[in-house]
Amino acid sequence: MSLTHYMRAMLGIIGRELWRFITQRERFISALVRPLVWLFVFAAGFRAALGLAIAPPYDTYILYEVYITPGLCGMIQLFNGMQSSLSMVYDREMGSMRLLMVAPLPRWFLLLSKLLAGTGVSILQVYVFLLIAYMYEIEAPWQGYFLLLPALMLTGLMLGALGLLLSSFIKQLENFAGVMNFVIFPMFFMSTALYPLWKLKESSKILYALASYNPFSQAVELIRFALYGQLNHYALAYTLVTFILFSSIAIVGYSPSKGMMARKGIG
C-alpha cells in the first residue's frame, strides 16, 4: 500500500465530509445559529452579571460577550464532534460504514481521517462564527486568528475523538439523545465556556473541581489563549493527552476482534 493510497483515501473521506456539510445548508445554518443565539441573546442578558476581574489572557476588562466567544467556539466543536459520531452511527446503520471499514487500509488510519474531516468542518464553522462576532465588535488581536488554527485543530480532534469513542458504544441512532443529556450538556455547563473558574469557585468547590478537570474546559482555555496570541501550556498538554486517550480507546472500540463492535456484531 503506497502513500498515494493513504492520501487518496484521506482526501476522499475529508472531501465527502466537507461536501456533505456544504450541501446540507440547514446543517450549516443550524451549526451557526446555536452559538449566535448564545452570543446575542444569552450573553446580552448576562452582560452585567459576570462581575469584574481581569484574568489572563485578558489585559483589561471585557464584556460578557467577549468572554463567552471562545467558549462558543468550543461549543461549535463539541457539537460538531458529537454530530460526527451521530453520522458514524448513521453510516453504520446504512451500511456505508461497512464499506469504509473494509477498505484495504488500517482501521486507525480510516478513523483518524474521519476525525480530521470532522475537525475541518468544525474549523470552518468556527471561523464563520468569529467573522460574525467580529462584525458585532468582538475583536481579538489579528495574530490571534492565525494562532487559533493549530489550537482548533487539536481541540477539534480531541472532541471528535470523544464523539468517536461514544459512537463505538451507541448501537442505534435513537440513543443519541442520551449523549446530548449525559455528555454534551454536562460538559458544556460544567466548563469555563460560560463562566471563569474563579466565579465557579465562589459558588461551589465541587463544580470548580469538575470544571477544572473537564477536558472541554481545557479545550476552551486553549482556544481562549490562542485567540489572544498566547499559549496556555497546561491546556495544551491536557488537550493533547485527552486526545491520545480518547482516540486510542475509540480505535480499540472499533476493532472488530477486540472492541465493542465485536460484541454488537457490527464491523
Partner: protein, 321 residues
C-alpha cells in the same frame, strides 16, 4: 500548576502601545500615596507616600514640578517631578480636593470643599493671594486656556461660578443640573463642558453668554440609569472628541464634539473617576476608583488596551512627558 505562559501576548501589547515614553502619576486616596506608572511597559514602577488622602494632582506647565492636593493634611505639596522629592508645602486652605494651574502666570486655584471658597495661591511665593466665596462644596475647577476665566462647580449649590482672573472676582453663576463635579474648557476657551453626576448628563456652556447651549444624557446598554454618574471629562486639543468618565457605570463615553453624540462606550474598571491624556493625546488614562487600577485607552483605535493595578482608590492622574 496551571502556569500560563505569555509568549506573544506581551509582544502584542508592546506593539499595541505606540506612544512616547512618559510617566503617569496617580493619586491614591486610601494609600496616602501616589503611584508611578510606566504606560509603555504597562506596569507600576513604584508607590511614593505623600500625605493623607491625596486627590487633585497636576504638573506645572514645564512638567518640572508635581503638585498634589493632600486633602486631610490641608495642604498642597510640591514635588520635583523627576526625583519626587518634596520641595514645598503650599497653603491651600481647608480640605483642598482639586485645583487648577494657570497656563501662563504662576497662580493656582484651589477648591476648598469645606469652606465653600476658592483659594488663589501664588505658587512661587507660597502665599494665598485671596479667597473667593463660591457655592457649597466646590469641587471641579478649571482655568481657560486664554487665562481669562476660572470656572468652579459647586456640587451642592448646583452652580458653575465664573471668576475673572484679572481681579479674582466672581462675576456670574450658571445654574446646572444636580451635583456638577467636574468641568473643563475647550482649547479655544469658548465653551465649558460640565458633568452632572446625579442627572447623568453632560452640559455645554457658552463662555460668552454663560448659558447652557447643549446637553447630552448618557445611556449605557445593560446598565441602570442610577449607575451612570458622569464625573471627569476632557475635550481633545482639536475639539473633535470629548471623553467622559461615567463613574459606577464603569465606562468612558467617547463623544463626537461636532454633533454631541456618543460614538462609543469603552469598558474600564469600577467607578472610573478621572481621566488624563497622554502628552501626544494618542492615549487616554483613567483612574478606576473601586477596582484599584488604571486603564490605558488607544484613542486611534478607541480600544482599552490594558488595565494596570496601581493601589487603593486611585483618584486623579497627571502625565509627565
Amino acid at each position: 500548576m496551571k502556569k500560563c505562559f505569555r509568549v506573544v501576548g506581551l509582544g502584542a501589547f508592546l506593539w499595541a502601545f505606540n506612544g512616547e515614553a512618559e510617566t503617569v502619576f496617580v493619586s491614591l486616596e486610601k494609600d496616602n500615596a501616589i503611584a508611578v506608572v510606566d504606560p509603555v511597559a504597562g506596569k507600576l514602577l513604584k508607590t511614593v507616600a505623600v500625605g493623607r488622602r491625596p486627590r487633585g494632582i497636576a504638573l506645572s506647565t514645564d512638567a518640572k514640578f508635581l503638585y498634589v492636593a493632600v486633602s486631610d493634611d490641608n495642604i498642597i505639596k510640591k514635588f520635583n517631578a523627576d526625583t519626587l522629592t518634596e520641595l514645598a508645602d503650599l497653603p491651600s486652605g481647608n480640605d483642598p480636593e482639586t485645583f487648577a494651574l494657570s497656563p501662563v502666570d504662576k497662580r493656582m486655584y484651589v477648591s476648598n470643599e469645606d469652606d465653600s471658597q476658592i483659594s488663589v495661591i501664588d505658587v512661587d511665593k507660597k502665599t494665598v493671594l485671596t479667597r473667593i466665596p463660591v457655592g457649597v462644596e466646590p469641587e471641579g475647577i478649571a482655568v481657560s486656556p486664554d487665562n481669562q476665566w476660572v470656572v468652579s462647580a459647586s456640587e451642592t449649590t448646583n452652580m458653575v461660578h465664573w471668576i475673572e482672573t484679572k481681579n479674582y472676582t466672581r462675576v456670574a453663576n450658571t445654574l446646572v443640573d444636580p451635583r456638577p463635579r467636574a468641568l473643563t474648557f475647550t482649547a479655544d476657551s469658548k465653551q465649558v463642558w460640565v458633568t452632572s453626576e446625579m442627572a447623568g448628563k453632560l452640559m455645554v456652556l457658552d463662555a460668552k453668554t454663560k448659558q447652557i447651549i447643549k446637553e447630552l444624557v448618557f445611556e449605557v446598554e445593560g446598565v441602570t440609569a442610577e449607575k451612570i454618574q458622569p464625573v471627569g471629562l476632557l475635550v481633545d486639543k482639536h475639539m473633535q472628541r470629548a471623553y467622559v468618565a461615567l463613574g459606577p457605570a464603569n465606562r468612558i463615553a467617547v463623544i463626537n464634539v461636532a454633533n454631541l453624540t456618543v460614538e462609543k462606550m469603552l469598558l474600564v474598571g469600577a467607578r472610573v473617576w478621572n481621566i488624563a491624556f497622554s502628552a501626544d493625546q494618542k492615549y487616554l488614562y483613567s483612574a478606576n476608583g473601586l477596582s484599584n487600577d488604571m486603564s490605558i485607552i488607544d484613542l486611534e483605535q478607541l480600544k482599552v488596551i490594558r488595565s494596570i493595578g496601581v493601589g487603593t482608590n486611585p483618584w486623579g492622574l497627571a502625565v509627565k512627558p
